[in-house]
Amino acid sequence: MKVPPMILDLTVASFQRRPVRLWLPLFLLWPLALALGVLALALTIVADGVLFLLGRRFHHYTALLVRIFEALGETRGTVIRFSNEKTAVDMTVH
């Protein structure tokens, strides 16, 4: 089973300042995303149905929405680090 990203670990360190570390609870956003996703899914199913009946070639908005959620779920493990002489930023998706 795929586990979506749960926490965003963000560390910002500035020159001569105490580093700031934030643990952003992404898991709190998932119920909201789920609710919005279900609503959007209903809309895309209707839109795809209408587009299909109209004979349009592209009627894959539902599949697109599902793939977007799938891609969001795969972001776990992504690490972005930036540093220069004054600042260092570290962002990890757990």
């Binding site: 070639r57 697109l64 977007i68 799938e70 891609a71 795969e74 992504t78 680090r81 220069n84």
Partner: protein, 146 residues
């Protein structure tokens, strides 16, 4: 169906490995080795997990700028695959605009022609590719999988 075969197919279904990798692992399971031929057992004895674990899992992009800026990005390969799969579902109008913008920046990639098998091939190729760019001003860019 053997337990190992089932596990490989499970990993394939879960998107943990590509079709190409699954094929390679299944081939390895079927391939007769000296010892295996003698015992008529499978080519891989026991757990295929160590073999799968040896496959690269992340795409790394490292940029070292001459002015001291460093950027390191580590992206799960499964995310790269998901992103590429998305391209086949982007509405044609949006895709035309993407292709146009990319062409303006000197990248003539037509995502309209991307097929699932191309994506697997591209990911497979990425695993064996390393890109090193050394700029005139001292900037370096390194892209590799590990």
């Amino acid at each position: 169906m053997s337990e190992d075969r089932g596990r490989i197919l499970e990993l394939l279904a879960g998107g943990k490995i590509t079709a190409e990798e699954a094929e390679r692992l299944l081939d390895a399971l079927d391939a007769p080795t000296g010892a295996a031929t003698a015992s008529a057992g499978p080519a891989i004895q026991g757990d295929p997990e160590p073999l799968i674990a040896a496959l690269p899992k992340y795409l790394y992009v490292k940029v070292l700028a001459a002015n001291g800026d460093n950027v390191n990005v580590k992206i799960p390969i499964v995310l790269v695959r998901s992103g590429l799969k998305l391209t086949s579902l982007i509405p044609p109008l949006a895709m035309d605009k993407i292709n146009e913008t990319m062409a303006e920046h000197g990248m003539s990639v037509d995502f309209n022609n991307f097929k699932p098998e191309d994506i697997d091939e591209l990911i497979g190729g990425l695993r064996e590719t390393e890109v090193n760019v050394d700029g005139k001003n001292g900037d370096t860019v390194r892209v590799y999988c590990a």
